[in-house]
């Protein structure tokens, strides 16, 4: 591989890998607190993209119940310039966060209260995913939407430079994705590592019973976790929608599954693990040779399978001690 190709793959891999990372962080946060995998996370990812789309465009042409509805007759206040789009992205992610909170209240909390089998929580979260994806289809149609990919003001590459006789191109959107992901990781790392809220969250993750004895409202912190998880998932949805220019009801399914590969690769429940896992899988996919690009979607799962066999606790996970 030439140096220019190498660099191009590296940059593409870092951009997509950082989206995987923030998406997977949402999974891993919920897993570290509740010990379950929230399969509705992929659906929240899709919702994030749709909320942003609604805020920016405000009308739906596809065949759904909302066909012909126009939310902003004078044009959306959140479109037109990159800053407005950034605000719409943020608001979309916040709404996705509230949806995740709602999911917790309706599907997970009643189950916890009954002390039900964690496997049932899995089925329940899948039921929720089914409801969300089909509601989207009903309301705004099953077709794929053209996402405003020029939302950040320019379609031309932000950076392009020549190495040898090839041009390496970095798209604006890729830089934004990478920067936003890094910023999210820094903020999250600070909140969880340094603040009182983070300390309480870690206590709940360690042992809900003990945390509750120490005066921590476990239910409240679970809600906070779900909000953060939904926020990160929704944000990732908009970022991916913007990067690829499309969004559809089944848009989150692949990401939902790849997110699983990411968190297992890094170590279930580990926050740095999700970041490392996301970057590893993003880079591995970017380096799949063009001749084998049809197999790209299998890369994450092949890595997942291998890591489970070699090091089941993941790259950065802690070894669990088997209790007798």
């Amino acid at each position: 591989m030439e140096a220019s190709q190498l660099l191009q793959n590296l940059l593409n891999g870092l951009a997509i890998g950082s989206v995987y990372a923030i998406f997977a962080l949402g999974y891993t946060l919920v897993f570290s607190i509740l010990g379950i995998i929230n399969f509705a996370h992929g659906a929240v990812f899709t919702l994030g993209a749709y909320f942003t789309y609604t805020l920016v465009v405000g009308q739906f042409e596809n065949n759904g119940l909302l066909k012909g509805v126009n939310l902003f007759p004078q044009g959306s206040p959140l479109s037109g310039n990159p800053w407005a789009f950034a605000l719409a992205t943020l608001v979309g992610a916040v709404i996705a966060g509230f949806v995740a909170v709602l999911i917790e209240r309706l599907a997970f909390r009643p189950m916890r209260a009954r002390g039900a089998d964690p496997l049932l929580a899995l089925v329940s979260s899948l039921g929720v995913a089914l409801v969300i994806v089909n509601l989207i289809q009903l309301l705004v149609g099953a077709e794929i939407y053209n996402f405003p990919s020029d939302a950040y003001g320019e379609v031309r590459p932000a950076l392009s430079f020549q190495i040898g006789d090839r041009v390496v191109i970095v798209r604006t959107v890729q830089i934004i994705i990478f920067a936003v992901s890094l910023a999210m990781l820094a903020v999250l790392g600070y909140v969880i590592g340094r603040t009182k809220v983070g300390k309480a969250l870690r206590a709940v993750a360690e042992s809900p019973g003990t945390a509750s004895l120490l005066g921590i409202s476990v239910d409240r912190f679970i809600l906070i976790t779900f909000f953060l998880s939904g926020f990160l998932g929704g944000l990732a949805g908009t970022l991916v929608g913007t990067a690829f220019g499309v969004a559809g009801p089944y848009f989150g399914v692949t990401y939902g599954l790849k997110g699983l590969a990411v968190i297992v690769l890094g170590g279930l429940g580990s926050i740095p693990g999700a970041v490392v896992g996301g970057l590893v899988i993003g880079l591995a996919e970017a380096f799949v040779p063009a001749d084998y690009s049809a197999y790209k979607d299998a890369v994450a799962f092949a890595l997942l399978f291998v890591i489970l066999l070699v090091r089941p606790q993941g790259l950065l996970g802690r070894t669990q001690i088997q209790k007798v």
């Binding site: 995998i37 399969f39 309706l106 599907a107 009643p110 189950m111 009954r114 039900a116 089998d117 496997l119 049932l120 929580a121 899995l122 089925v123 329940s124 899948l126 039921g127 929720v128 995913a129 089914l130 409801v131 969300i132 089909n134 509601l135 289809q137 009903l138 399914v253 599954l257 699983l260 590969a261 297992v264 279930l268 049809a294 197999y295 979607d297 299998a298 799962f301 092949a302 997942l304 399978f305 489970l308 066999l309 089941p312 088997q322 007798v324």
Partner: protein, 313 residues
């Protein structure tokens, strides 16, 4: 009767087929292994049958065997899935709980991507025009294949539960370490349970390929894994009737809700949420619970009597 079969025959056969797939996940679960690999083996079994029944390479074999070709496809699917089950099962069964579930999801996804890209599996279009088994004229006649298979598997499962192997499965499910300490080799039995499930899913796939007439990569997906898991958990995971009842009911629900038109898939999701909330033991478990209350989980605590020693403090 003819009208009824013409209208509901396909659904009834699909319900039985779903019950069988539920059972294929139930066997590993018996030994405490949450494996979501069933759709993978189902897809492989279907591809084996579809290739044997349509590929020009086997034309001579088909000519000489005639209808005997169909049992051969079942046998081939069972053998191939059994071997594949061994190859995947031995390394994968070192994993526990959610890790095994994730590894089997990865297995299903890898199979899906590979079958989408191979020439022999027909790529994205898949294989179509699969001849009908034994020259069946109507779809409902497949009940003559799936029905006996279901009865056979139920008898097998019933016998298995009462056998030494079945007791070993249960011992491993309840406590793997304790079972190991008592001289029950967990790995051997876990692999056995996994392979039984794989073989069953493979045979169901081989029977389904002619039933559906076409076979493609959509047959074995993550969605199918979850649907089958839901069959078992909603039906009841501790009784052989659970997967059968769950598979039949959850297959019928979207059909029964047909009058809701576009809303039925939304309602289907709600059914999963509500059922997992209110029927933690599954439907069969709940029905059993009415007749016979479950034994208390913990022995009643014995009051600790502290004998006073000596005189007054």
């Amino acid at each position: 009767m003819g009208d009824f079969l013409a209208q509901y025959g396909f659904l009834i056969v699909t319900m039985v087929q779903a019950g069988l797939l539920g059972l294929s996940l139930y066997f590993p679960l018996q030994a405490g292994q949450l494996s979501l690999a069933s759709p993978g083996f189902y897809a492989v079994g279907g591809y084996v049958a579809a290739i044997l029944l349509t590929n020009p390479a086997f034309a001579g074999l088909r000519e000489s065997l005639g209808n005997g070709m169909f049992p051969l496809t079942w046998l081939a699917a069972a053998l191939i899935c059994g071997l594949l089950g061994l190859v995947v099962g031995i390394p994968a069964l070192r994993l526990r709980g959610i890790y095994l579930a994730l590894a089997t999801i990865a297995f299903v996804e890898i199979l899906r991507v590979v079958s989408l890209n191979l020439g022999v599996t027909g790529g994205a279009i898949g294989i179509f025009g699969i001849p009908q088994a034994f020259g069946f004229q109507d779809r409902w006649q497949y009940i003559f294949l799936f029905g006996p298979l279901l009865i056979l598997i139920l008898l097998f499962a019933w016998q298995l539960e009462r056998s030494r192997v079945g007791r070993a499965f249960r011992a491993i499910r309840e406590d793997e370490l304790a079972a190991d300490a008592m001289g029950v080799p967990p790995t051997r039995y876990k692999v056995l349970a996994f392979v039984i499930g794989a073989v069953l899913a493979g045979i169901v796939g081989a029977m389904s390929a002619p039933f559906l007439n076409t076979w493609n990569a959509k047959q074995g997906t993550f969605d199918a894994s979850i649907a089958i898991l839901a069959f078992v958990l909603i039906g009841g995971s501790r009784n052989i009737w659970g997967p059968v009842v769950g598979g039949a009911l959850l297959t019928a629900v979207p059909e029964l809700l047909r009058f809701l038109a576009d809303w039925r898939l939304v309602i289907n999701g709600l059914v999963l949420v509500v059922a997992s909330l209110y029927l933690p033991q599954g439907i069969v478990g709940a029905l059993q619970g009415v007749r016979r209350p479950p034994p208390p989980r913990r022995p009643p605590s014995v009051p600790v009597v502290v004998e006073a020693k000596g005189g007054t403090p």
